[in-house]
């Protein structure tokens, strides 16, 4: 085969494209082949045209007829298939990169798009940090826990005689009183609630003898000292004055109960048994610094 090196065919871009797509006429094809086989510069142009054609195909920017020619006459070598595959990959990755750069964020809301992975990771880390911090506090800083949750105070257990309340309706049998072995009287003084062991106890509730006509009749235990337990309502936040009188007005017992923080719901005091005779008695509880301010009043009768 002989080719003319001085042909009239101008290897324009269109001719090169026609050559690659296999659509040149026979004369131009033969002439072009002769030029290509020995023309270094044309070789480079055809090579570049290959890339451009592959890019167009990958970007679906090629017409239907040319697409058919492309598949039939161009995409027939391993190298060209690789070029097309690379063009597709290049178009995808670089177009995405360019799009991402070209489009500015619409607003600051773009920055605070919580659907972004970065925000999700940030929230996850925050929750994790919170859990680790809580665990550290529980294990290392017990003082804070005891500060937040006050320590429960348990009262010291003491053996006491179960009191019996004189809730008796009028005209009924006198209440029974539990008695135990009497101990020698000490002195007239209020006693702590836990100090009632081994002593006979008389329990008076506010409602039991609120009126002298409803005074309960009770037989005092055969002991040297009788312990009274006055049940009352409300807090005992101020010092109280306790007076035990007979109905004639003679004082049998007198004491002051200091204010205490906790409301025990009762006041205990011991009275020597020999001070009681047959008759009615009144226990009046008032504020220590103001005797006129009565807090409670109790009545009982000794047969």
């Amino acid at each position: 085969m002989t080719t003319s090196q001085n042909s009239d065919l101008k290897p324009t871009d269109e001719v090169i494209r026609g050559f690659l797509l296999g659509c040149l006429n026979a004369a131009d094809q033969e002439e072009f082949e002769g030029q290509l086989i020995s023309d270094e510069r044309l070789h480079e142009r055809v090579r570049h045209a290959e890339f451009q054609l592959a890019d167009e195909f990958a970007g679906e920017q090629i017409g239907r007829i040319d697409r058919h020619r492309f598949l039939k006459n161009f995409l027939v070598t391993t190298e060209r298939k690789r070029i097309v595959a690379a063009s597709e990959a290049l178009r995808q990755s670089l177009s995405l990169a360019i799009d991402a750069r070209a489009i500015p964020p619409a607003s600051w809301r773009h920055l605070f798009d919580f659907r972004k992975s970065a925000w999700r990771y940030a929230f996850g880390a925050l929750v994790l940090l919170f859990l680790i911090g809580s665990f550290w506090l529980v294990t290392k800083e017990r003082k804070i826990i005891t500060y937040v949750i006050p320590k429960r105070i348990f009262r010291r257990p003491a053996a006491t005689v179960t009191p019996q309340e004189t809730h008796h309706p009028p005209n009924t049998a006198p209440p029974e009183h539990r008695e135990s072995a009497a101990s020698p009287p000490g002195h007239e003084a209020l006693v702590s609630p836990g100090d009632s062991a081994q002593k006979p106890v008389v329990v008076l509730s506010l409602t039991a003898g609120g009126d002298v006509s409803q005074a309960s009749s009770m037989s005092l235990p055969a002991a040297d000292v009788v312990r009274f337990q006055l049940a009352f309502e409300g807090d005992r936040l101020r010092p109280l004055r306790i007076e035990l009188n007979n109905l004639e007005g003679q004082s049998v017992f007198f004491a002051e109960a200091p204010a205490i923080e906790k409301n025990y719901g009762r006041i205990d005091f011991d009275v020597p048994a020999n001070r009681f005779k047959s008759g009615s008695y009144q226990i009046r509880v008032s504020e220590a610094d103001n005797a006129e301010q009565e807090v409670a009043r109790y009545y009982f009768r000794v047969p």
């Binding site: 970007g59 027939v76 690379a86």
Partner: protein
């Protein structure tokens, strides 16, 4: 020595003789060989041949076997001699019964992933300037692409055709890099 081994030995000797005929410098000869092969393939493909690489290699083999006879007498562009032999090979191909063309199978997901991976690696190897040119050259939208290329060319102080040439050269380098990456 078996006939098959003798054939291989002769082929290697013929091939070495061919390279030496193309140029005494082995490196230049290798480059010339690659270029001639590429041109033969391009021409055969353009003629509608479905197996251009196969025919190009057959052409080279025939030339290699004849070099021992023509090297002393042949005058002129050696590439043209290849073209003449290729015409004969192609003519014989056309006379043969046409073989059914293999159906093209789209690249698998794994292959595409490999290509993307190689592309990323090769893009990283580019100089910042080259990378900037090719990244901006490949815009998504066609209309936007044209405007963008005009703007890039203006920014770089070159003509649009010069920009295209630069981008395509970078693209060519990328392809060589990708091919090399895929083969490893």
């Amino acid at each position: 020595m078996s006939p098959a081994r003798k054939l291989r030995t002769l082929e290697q000797a013929d091939f070495d003789r061919l390279l030496n005929w193309l140029d005494s410098d082995p490196e230049v000869a290798g480059t010339l060989y690659e270029k001639i092969r590429w041109r033969l393939i391009a021409i055969l493909a353009s003629r509608g041949c479905h197996v251009p690489e196969e025919l190009a290699d057959e052409t080279i083999d025939r030339v290699a076997r004849r070099v021992i006879d023509i090297r002393e007498t042949y005058v002129g562009d050696k590439a043209i001699y290849f073209l003449g032999v290729m015409n004969n090979v192609h003519h014989e191909y056309l006379k043969r019964r046409p073989q059914p063309r293999t159906v093209e199978v789209a690249a698998s997901v794994e292959e595409k992933e490999r290509i993307h991976l190689c592309l990323d690696r090769c893009l990283e190897k580019l100089s910042p300037h080259a990378r900037q040119i090719i990244e901006r050259y490949y815009a998504e939208n066609k209309r936007a692409r044209i405007n963008l290329r005009r703007r890039i060319a203006s920014e770089l102080g070159v003509t649009a055709s010069n920009l295209r040439l630069r981008a395509l050269r970078i693209r060519e380098k990328l392809q060589v890099c990708i091919d090399s990456c895929l083969e490893t």
